[in-house]
């Protein structure tokens, strides 16, 4: 029997507000344990939460960017469970009335557009962090993260493959980064994902029994874990077995999922409206103000890049996947108005370099001005494309301007025909055997001669002129 997989994702995005969602403590990452805390986020007796308006604004940005319907009145609810990283014994979240519902984003898979539904977006507070020291019979809890704002974005079960799930996840990450509301860093946990996955016979309308996958802390692991889980469920069904509803944990080092808890062991969170917080009322003015402040989003920018710069859909997609990269590209094009060539260099040399050094575009050692400067040098024929790559490497290493590097290292292209002719004469007279062979029809040796000339000129000779001079001399 042929099966299809049905996947829905629950994404937690940590919001980049300066202070926590219900108190004035800093949200900064990496402080010594329990230094970004106060009676409120520590859950001391008698304290009360006060909602950070910035959190609402950031959530509204996301809601608008994902075409959600915004609830004019939403409520905070308490999600009750015991755990040492949860100081109040409940998490303030939203349940019955989230801030936004019924949205969608579009993804592209193999040049095919697909619309993925968003069930809801809600605000909540993050929990603290436990560390377990294996050498001591103690667990330590750090409440710095307690109360850091999160939004949870729940998708419809519209995804049909791990690739689609990956594309959707990347799309949402790109959106939160464009909106400047979240770092979108899965490895550091500022962008987290749980996946619900089930399979069903193709053509079936009903859903199969789903498993919820947790601990998916990189894009690669999301796809790998989903692939593993789909195969596992297929094997069970093919053997006549039954998938059971449960939460499963992905083990990245073992490349498999294992059962964490069954449906029967699932928590009853006893949600109820938080009596300490009033219903959140959002009026049109607020929504319109946020709407006005929204930046151009990845999809809009991609279309603009295709229309304005005549880039291919793939190039435009890649360049707009991050707001900073797209801005870098546009800044370069402003200074060197040849979009295709800028695109080639950004996607080729620059991203190659950044990937190798595991840097982001913001950390690029090559400024937009310098990259444009380099392209201008090629365009004017001052250096060859090949020399330009050497210059680029130097720029990346030292952060210096291309003009200076070219001048200092005397890399200016030799376009003087008589100078090239001189070198050619020398090479030909040094290699009489090869000249003979060439004249006897072994024309492949042309490459050898060009190579020798370039070696002699340390790559500076204009390759076009070298070819012309060589041809002329070898034919005569």
């Amino acid at each position: 029997m042929e099966f299809e997989s049905v996947i829905g994702l629950e994404i937690h995005a940590q919001l980049k507000t300066k202070t926590k969602i219900f108190c004035g403590c800093s949200t900064k990452f990496g402080a010594p344990p329990n230094t970004h805390t106060c009676p409120v986020c520590l859950g001391m007796p008698g304290v009360l939460p006060v909602l950070n308006k910035k959190v609402v604004e950031y959530s509204l940005r996301m809601a608008l960017a994902t075409n959600c319907k915004i609830n004019r009145q939403s409520r905070f609810a308490r999600k009750n469970y015991f755990y040492p990283d949860l100081p109040k014994g409940y998490q303030i979240s939203q349940y019955e009335l989230p801030i936004a519902e019924n949205g969608h984003v579009d993804i592209e898979i193999n040049s095919h557009k697909k619309r993925i539904g968003i069930t809801r977006i809600h605000m909540e507070e993050d929990a603290g962090k436990l560390t377990h020291n294996p050498d001591r019979p103690l667990s330590m809890v750090d409440f710095n993260r307690t109360g850091v704002p999160l939004i949870e974005i729940v998708s419809e079960p519209d995804l049909r493959s791990p690739e689609e799930a990956g594309a959707y996840l990347r799309q949402l990450r790109s959106i939160v980064r464009y909106l400047s509301i979240c770092d979108g860093n899965m490895e550091e946990g500022s962008f987290r994902c749980d996946a619900n996955v089930s399979i069903r016979p193709i053509g079936s309308e009903t859903f199969g029994t789903r498993a919820e996958l947790k601990n998916l802390n990189s894009f690669k692991h999301v796809e790998k874990a989903l692939q593993y889980e789909i195969t596992r469920q297929k094997e069970i069904l093919s053997d006549g077995g039954e998938v059971i509803q449960e939460t499963r944990l992905w083990s990245p080092d073992k490349n498999r999922t294992t059962s964490m808890r069954s449906k029967e062991e699932a928590h009853d969170y006893r949600y109820f409206p938080d009596p300490d917080l009033l219903p959140l009322v959002i009026d049109d003015t607020w929504i319109n103000n946020v709407k006005k402040s929204l930046p151009e989003l990845p999809d809009e920018r991609k279309i603009r890049f295709i229309n304005k710069f005549f880039l291919s859909s793939n190039d435009a997609e890649a360049l707009t996947s991050s707001r900073e990269l797209a801005e870098y590209f546009e800044e370069c094009v402003k200074q060197f108005p040849n979009p295709k060539q800028v695109c080639n260099w950004v996607m080729g040399e620059l991203l190659g370099l950044l990937n190798a050094e595991e840097k982001t575009i913001n950390e690029s050692p090559v400024s937009t001005g310098d990259l444009a400067g380099l392209l201008k040098l090629i365009d004017k024929g001052v250096i060859s494309g090949k020399i330009a790559k050497t210059v680029f490497e130097e720029m990346a290493k030292t952060g210096r301007a291309p003009e200076k590097i070219v001048k200092e290292k005397q890399l200016v292209q030799v376009t003087d025909v008589s100078a090239i002719e001189e070198v050619v004469s020398k090479i030909l007279s040094n290699n009489p055997k090869e000249v003979e062979a060439y004249k006897n029809g072994k024309t492949k040796l042309m490459g050898f001669f060009v190579g020798q000339v370039m070696k002699e000129t340390r790559g500076k000779a204009n390759p076009k002129i070298v070819n012309e001079v060589l041809k002329k001399r070898l034919i005569n």
Partner: protein, 486 residues
């Protein structure tokens, strides 16, 4: 006359004129506590040293001319209002060693006004109870008859005020916890409108019902304390940005033109003691003599109030009390090394039986599959009760009723029967469910000589009319002048 016998208003006058010092006054109150605390048991913590320091500070402020009606006035605070550096136990073993690192908003206000805090008063554990017998720390006795309960949950506050162990006190009221002990101890108690006084720093029992309020010797004092603690607090999202009038000013107005509503349902209530009935009936005629018009009103959903309350309050409590898990502060059973064992043992040993009963009740009401039938239904009943009052207030300005169905009962009499105990809140619970202000003032004595109070309830943010009615009544009677012999 002993200084500790003064009301806030009287003491403030003497302090202002320099006839007494706060050190003398505070010293007198501390001596009084020393001599009668053994009999009454009103205090969990007496802060003699810091009180004298605050008194000295108040005296220096007064000498500079910085004086408010509370400067130098010794007050007590119910032990679930957080006081920075001063142990706050909620009368629970689980918080036996808890010293708050911050002041509740009301404490900040009192300190700013120059008040002196002499100590923290006993209560039912986490304010759950009507007799102060559920305290995990000690027993409080009614100063009028030491074999009787002082009422609850603010029993320590009411007993301390009645026995002159402070000039006034702050309590908290979730279902009658200020009004009922005030009634049993013959003092004045007010539960303000929900949102009138900041709850920040009030250890939560049931967040949508809790409200801090004054317990005082007379009505003027109640107004003075209301002036000091009322007002919007950005730290409490449920506090309301509504102007604070001078509450003492209402005491100057007369009663003519005031319509008092008498709910027919309350006076048919089962178990209403004949002493209470007679005292309240007398109270009605006193008000009529003063020019008030009394009319019958109907609150048809009253019979469901206790049931709704005992679903909503425990539900919220089950969540509010989840933070006492032994991890961060308070008691932890250190014998247990596994997390679940530690949680269970800490909470089983740390909470008393009534608190555990309500946590279980509330957990059940909020559980999947029961939520709609219990919690949700109870909130719907709550809406109906609010509607009842809205309708009733179309025909009257004040609603009058008994506070408690009986005078103070004997210690131990009802501890084995929580349901009967719950029913003693029948007249007070509705004001919490509807969020309205309610007040208890002395209106008579039982044949056995125990004080009886009557309750006045008003529209939201209309504490003024309660104070006006109460003050006129007080001036026309002398119940508040009688003091327990102790």
């Amino acid at each position: 006359m002993n200084l500790y016998e003064l009301t806030i208003n009287e003491a403030s006058g003497f302090l202002r004129k320099g006839e007494i010092s706060s050190k003398e006054l505070t010293g007198s109150v501390l001596d009084r506590i020393d001599s009668v605390e053994g009999k009454v048991g009103a205090y969990i913590t007496v802060a003699a040293e810091s009180a004298m320091k605050q008194a000295g500070y108040a005296d220096s402020e007064i000498s500079k001319g910085n004086i408010t009606p509370l400067t130098g006035v010794p007050l007590s605070i119910k032990d679930l209002i957080c006081t920075k550096g001063l142990r706050t136990t909620c009368a629970s073993r689980i918080l036996d060693n808890f010293v708050p690192p911050y002041d509740a908003s009301v404490i900040k206000k009192l300190k700013k006004a120059g008040a002196v805090i002499v100590g923290k008063t006993n209560m039912d554990e986490f304010a759950m109870g009507s007799s102060t017998e559920n305290s995990g720390i000690k027993v409080t006795h009614n100063p009028w008859d030491l074999s009787c309960i002082p009422g609850g949950s603010s029993g320590g506050s009411a007993a301390a005020v009645a026995a002159n162990m402070c000039l006034g006190s702050l309590g908290s009221d979730t279902g009658g916890s200020i009004r009922q002990p005030a009634s049993h101890c013959g003092v004045v108690g007010m539960k303000p409108t929900y949102g009138r006084v900041s709850r920040f720093g009030l250890v939560a029992f049931a967040s949508s019902l809790d409200q801090i309020g004054p317990v005082t010797k007379d009505v003027i004092d109640c107004g003075i304390l209301m002036n000091a603690v009322s007002g919007y607090d950005p730290g409490d999202s449920t506090s309301v940005p509504e102007d604070v009038p001078d509450y003492t000013s209402f005491c100057k107005e007369g009663l003519s033109g005031v319509t008092v509503g008498i709910p027919v349902e309350y006076h048919k209530a089962e178990g209403l003691d004949k002493n209470v009935f007679a005292a309240v009936k007398n109270g009605i005629s006193v008000l009529e003599d003063l020019g008030a018009v009394c009319v019958e009103v109907s609150l048809p959903h009253t019979k469901y109030a206790v049931a709704a309350y005992y679903v909503i309050a425990p539900s919220e409590a089950s969540s509010n009390l989840a933070r006492y898990d032994g991890v961060k502060y308070g008691f932890r059973d250190r014998e247990k090394s596994r997390l679940m064992d530690m949680y269970q043992s800490t909470r089983s040993k740390g909470f008393g039986p009534e608190v555990q009963r309500r946590i279980i009740l509330g957990t059940y009401s909020l559980s999947a599959g029961y939520y709609d039938a219990y919690y949700k239904k109870a909130t719907q009943v709550r809406t109906l009760i609010m509607e009842d009052f809205k309708n009733a207030f179309k025909a009257c300005d004040v609603i009058l009723s008994p506070v408690a169905p009986t005078p103070a009962f004997k210690t131990g009499e009802k501890t084995q029967d929580p349901l009967t105990m719950y029913l003693s809140d029948i007249f007070t619970i509705s004001a919490n469910l509807a969020g309205m202000p309610g007040m208890s003032i002395p209106c008579g004595f039982s044949a056995a000589g125990l004080p009886i109070g009557m309750q006045l309830m008003g529209k939201h943010f209309n504490e003024g009319i309660l104070l006006k009615t109460a003050y006129n009544f007080e001036q026309a009677t002398d119940f508040h002048k009688k003091k327990p012999k102790i």
